[in-house]
C-alpha cells in the first residue's frame, strides 16, 4: 500500500489579472497607443472592492495565486477527499491534475492510467443516439472502442435506459440523460480517478447506486481523488482528506481531523464577522461588531441554502442622535446589490426619534432560500439623513447547497439571485366536455 501513485511537488498556478490580456487585438493596440502617449490605459480594469478584499492575501501585483506551492502524495488504492471553501483552489488543483490546464511551476508525477470526471456527459451530442453517445463519451474519457463494446450491456443496464438506447438523447428526460452519462463514467476503469462533485446527480435511489458503485470500484484497488463541498459524502467515502485554503494545502490526514480543521479555521468565521475596539475609533456613532449567524446562532461564513440566517450588528452611540438608521447592503461579487435593508425605516416614524447614547445590538433575520448559492458581501452603515457616522465592510459569506437539495430535486440552480420558493396556486378552471366545448 506504500506505492506512491501521485506526487505533487511545489505546484503553483498563477492567473494574471488586469491589463495583460484584453482578448482582442484592437484593445491591445488601444492600450499600447495610450501608453505610448502617456495617457491612462482605457482598458485598465477597475477592481471591485469587495472581490479585491476577499482575495487580497493571494494577490501579488497583478498575479493571483490560485495554487501556491502545493505538495502532497497519494498512495496506491487510497481514497482522498479534497475540501475547502469556494475559491480555495480545489477545482484548480483538479484541473491541473487532469491536465486541462498546466501549472506555472512545480511537478506532478502520476503512475498508471488516469481519468477525470469533472462533469458527467461531457461531449454528449443531442442529435446522436444513446448508443452513439456512449461510444463517443467513452472515447473522450479515454476508453478504447473495444473496452466500451465489452461493457456496453452493463452500461445500458446500470443506466436503466432499456430500449431507448437507440433514440437520440435530445428526446431523453433529464433523468435518463444523467443516468446514461453517469453510467458511462461509472464503468470507466482507470487506475486513478479524479471526481468533482458529480455524484450529486440524479434521484436519491440513483445516488445510492452510484455510491455503491464507487465503493465497489475502490475495492478493486483503484485510487480516487474526490473533490466536494458535501462533508457527509466526503466523510462516508474518503478515509483521508486534504484541506485547501487560499491556494495552499492547509491540512491533510484523517478525514475527521481535516473536517475539524476546516471548521476551526479562523477565516471560516473570520470574514463572516467584523469587530473593532470602540476605544480605537472616534465618532458620534461607531459600529463595533457585525456577525453573520447561521440558524443555530453560530458565527459562520458558510450558510446552508435551505436554512435561515441572521445578521447581528452592535454599535455605540456616544451622544443622542435622531433620524438614525442602520442600513445594510448585501452585494454580490460583481458589486451588484440585490438587497438593502434599513433597521429603522422611514415608514416607522417613531423609531426615528432621538435615540439616547449607549451600546445597542440590532439583529435581522433572513428566511432560507432568500439568497441563492454564491458569495455575498455585507456592508453596514450608520447614517442619518445628512451624514454617515460609521461604515463596516468586508464581511463575506457563502451560501451553499451542501445537502444537494437542488440536485436531489433533479433541478438545476435557478439563474436568479434568490432561490425563494413561492407558493403557487394551481387550479383547473375548465375542462372540455363530450362535445369538445370548454366548460
Amino acid at each position: 500500500m506504500n506505492d506512491i501513485v501521485i506526487r505533487a511537488e511545489h505546484v503553483s498556478k498563477l492567473y494574471r489579472l488586469g491589463v495583460i490580456n484584453h482578448g482582442t487585438l484592437y484593445r491591445d493596440l488601444q492600450s499600447w497607443w495610450a501608453k505610448w502617449r502617456n495617457r491612462p490605459d482605457p482598458n485598465l480594469s477597475v477592481s471591485d472592492y469587495a472581490s479585491a478584499k476577499g482575495k487580497q492575501s493571494r494577490l501579488k501585483g497583478d498575479i493571483f495565486h490560485a495554487l501556491d506551492d502545493v505538495s502532497f502524495e497519494v498512495g496506491h488504492g487510497e481514497i482522498v477527499g479534497i475540501i475547502g471553501r469556494n475559491g480555495a483552489g480545489k477545482s484548480t488543483l483538479l484541473k491541473v491534475m487532469s491536465r486541462i490546464t498546466m501549472p506555472n511551476s512545480g511537478f506532478i508525477g502520476i503512475r498508471g492510467r488516469i481519468a477525470s470526471l469533472l462533469e458527467v456527459g461531457t461531449g454528449f451530442h443531442p442529435e446522436l443516439s444513446g448508443r452513439e453517445n456512449v461510444y463517443l463519451n467513452g472515447a473522450i474519457l479515454g476508453m478504447s472502442r473495444a473496452e466500451v463494446r465489452s461493457k456496453f450491456d452493463q452500461i445500458v443496464e446500470f443506466a436503466e435506459i432499456g430500449e431507448f438506447i437507440d433514440t437520440p438523447v435530445k428526446r431523453y428526460s433529464s433523468g435518463m440523460y444523467v443516468r446514461l452519462a453517469f453510467s458511462v463514467a461509472a464503468h470507466l476503469e482507470p487506475e486513478i480517478l479524479l471526481i468533482d462533485e458529480v455524484l450529486a446527480v440524479g434521484d436519491v435511489n440513483f445516488q445510492n447506486k452510484c455510491m455503491g458503485r464507487m465503493q465497489e470500484v475502490t475495492k478493486a484497488g483503484r485510487t480516487i481523488i474526490f473533490v466536494s463541498h458535501n462533508m457527509t459524502a466526503i466523510s462516508s467515502i474518503c478515509p483521508k482528506s486534504i484541506l485547501m485554503a487560499d491556494g495552499k494545502v492547509a491540512a491533510m490526514g484523517d478525514t475527521a481531523d481535516v473536517i475539524k480543521a476546516y471548521l476551526d479555521r479562523p477565516e471560516f468565521g473570520g470574514t463572516a464577522s467584523y469587530s473593532v475596539n470602540p476605544e480605537d475609533v472616534d465618532g458620534k456613532a461607531v459600529i463595533c461588531r457585525v456577525a453573520v449567524l447561521n440558524e443555530k446562532d453560530e458565527v459562520s461564513g458558510t450558510l446552508e441554502l435551505s436554512k435561515g440566517f441572521s445578521v447581528e450588528v452592535e454599535y455605540e452611540l456616544r451622544e443622542p442622535l435622531s433620524g438614525l438608521s442602520v442600513g445594510m447592503q448585501i452585494m454580490m461579487e460583481d458589486g451588484y446589490t440585490p438587497l438593502v435593508s434599513l433597521s429603522d425605516p422611514e415608514l416607522d416614524v417613531s423609531r426615528l426619534d432621538a435615540r439616547p447614547a449607549g451600546y445597542y445590538r440590532a439583529r435581522v433575520k433572513f428566511p432560507g432560500y432568500l439568497l441563492n448559492t454564491g458569495t455575498f458581501y455585507v456592508r453596514l452603515g450608520i447614517s442619518s439623513r445628512f451624514s454617515i457616522y460609521s461604515v463596516a465592510e468586508g464581511i463575506r459569506f457563502d451560501v451553499e447547497d451542501n445537502v444537494g437539495i437542488i440536485q436531489m430535486l433533479g433541478q438545476q440552480r435557478k439563474p436568479s439571485i434568490s432561490a425563494i420558493q413561492l407558493p403557487w396556486e394551481v387550479e383547473k378552471v375548465f375542462q372540455r366536455n363530450s362535445e369538445g366545448v370548454l366548460k
Binding site: Y15, G23, Y26, R99, N104, T122, H125, E127, A139, K240
Partner: protein, 292 residues
C-alpha cells in the same frame, strides 16, 4: 499519503512516472499522445459527419451546389468578361477543380480557427490531446472534397465523351492522394497557428475568412500560373497553395506543371507553417482554458 515531501523534485529523481505534469511540454510528446488517441479522431469525425446529415435537409447536395455555382460564376466573370485563359482546359472543369481544392484548404483553415473557443466546454472538463480536434476537422472536410471530386470526375467524363482530350490516368491516381496530404498538412498547420492566436485575440476570427478570400486571389485558382508575369512569380514561391492547385490540374488534365523551384519553395513554406503551427498550438493548449 504522507505529510511533507522531502525528496528532491521528481524530475531530477530516478523514479518512473507514466504521466508527468510540468509547465513546459514538448511538441513530439504531444504528437505521440495524439497518435494514442486516434480512435477519438475517428469518433469526432463520425460525430460531425452524422450530425451534419441529421441536421440539414439537403445534406450532401450542398456540397455539390456550392462548387458548381462558384465555378459557373468564375466562368462568367473571369472566363467570359475578363477573358482569362484556362490553359486549354475546358473552363467549367478548370474553375471547378481550382474551387474544390481551394475549398478543402479553406475549410481546414477556417473550421480550425476557433478550435479552443468552440470546444471550450469540452476542453474545460476533460483532457485529451487537443490536436485530435483539428485532425478530425481535416477529416470531415475531406468528405466534402471527395463528393465534389466525384462530381468533377463525372463532368470531366461527360466532356471526354463529347470531345476528346481528358483522360483519367495513373498520374491522377498517384498524385491526388499526395496533393491532398499536402493540402491537409498546410491547412491544419495554418489552422493550428490561427486557433492558437485566436485564444489571445478573439477578433482575429473575423479576419480569417477575409484573409482566406484574399489569399485565394494570390493563388492560381481563377487563372493559370502560366499567365503570371515573371516579375510577380516570386510571390508564388512563397504561397504554398500554388503547388497544390496547379499540380491538381496537372494531375487531372495533364496541363502545364510548375517549375520545380516553386514546388520546392512551397514545400519548405508548408513545413515551416506546420512546425510553427504545432509549436503555437502546443503553447496555447497549456493555458488556453484559463482565458477562454
Amino acid at each position: 499519503m504522507t505529510g511533507h515531501v522531502t525528496k528532491p523534485l521528481g524530475e531530477s529523481g530516478t523514479e518512473h512516472w507514466d504521466i508527468i505534469i510540468k509547465p513546459s511540454g514538448n511538441v513530439s510528446g504531444r504528437l505521440t499522445a495524439a497518435w494514442k488517441y486516434r480512435e477519438l479522431v475517428w469518433m469526432f469525425f463520425k460525430r460531425d459527419f452524422t450530425t451534419f446529415y441529421k441536421q440539414t435537409v439537403l445534406g450532401p447536395v450542398w456540397y455539390l451546389i456550392q462548387p458548381t455555382l462558384t465555378a459557373i460564376t468564375y466562368y462568367v466573370v473571369f472566363g467570359k468578361i475578363a477573358n482569362l485563359s484556362t490553359d486549354g482546359i475546358s473552363p467549367l472543369v478548370f474553375y471547378m477543380s481550382g474551387t474544390i481544392i481551394w475549398n478543402y484548404f479553406s475549410a481546414c483553415l477556417t473550421n480550425n480557427a476557433e478550435t479552443f473557443s468552440k470546444n471550450s466546454s469540452l476542453f474545460g472538463k476533460v483532457y485529451f490531446p487537443r490536436l485530435v480536434v483539428p485532425l478530425a476537422v481535416a477529416m470531415s472536410s475531406l468528405v466534402a472534397f471527395v463528393i465534389q471530386l466525384m462530381l468533377l470526375l463525372l463532368i470531366t467524363f461527360a466532356l471526354w465523351l463529347s470531345q476528346d482530350g481528358m483522360v483519367i490516368s495513373l498520374r491522377f491516381v498517384l498524385a491526388t492522394p499526395l496533393i491532398l496530404a499536402y493540402v491537409a498538412t498546410l491547412g491544419v498547420g495554418a489552422g493550428l497557428a490561427v486557433s492558437a492566436l485566436t485564444v489571445r485575440y478573439r477578433d482575429l476570427v473575423y479576419a480569417v475568412g477575409f484573409m482566406a478570400q484574399l489569399w485565394m486571389y494570390a493563388t492560381p485558382v481563377v487563372y493559370s500560373f502560366s499567365q503570371v508575369p515573371e516579375r510577380y512569380q516570386w510571390i508564388y514561391h512563397l504561397n504554398p497553395m500554388t503547388t497544390s492547385v496547379q499540380l491538381f490540374r496537372w494531375a487531372l488534365f495533364n496541363s502545364s506543371p510548375l517549375p520545380l523551384s516553386v514546388c520546392l519553395a512551397n514545400v519548405a513554406v508548408t513545413l515551416i507553417v506546420l512546425i510553427g503551427g504545432l509549436m503555437l498550438f502546443a503553447r496555447a493548449e497549456a493555458t488556453a482554458m484559463d482565458t477562454v
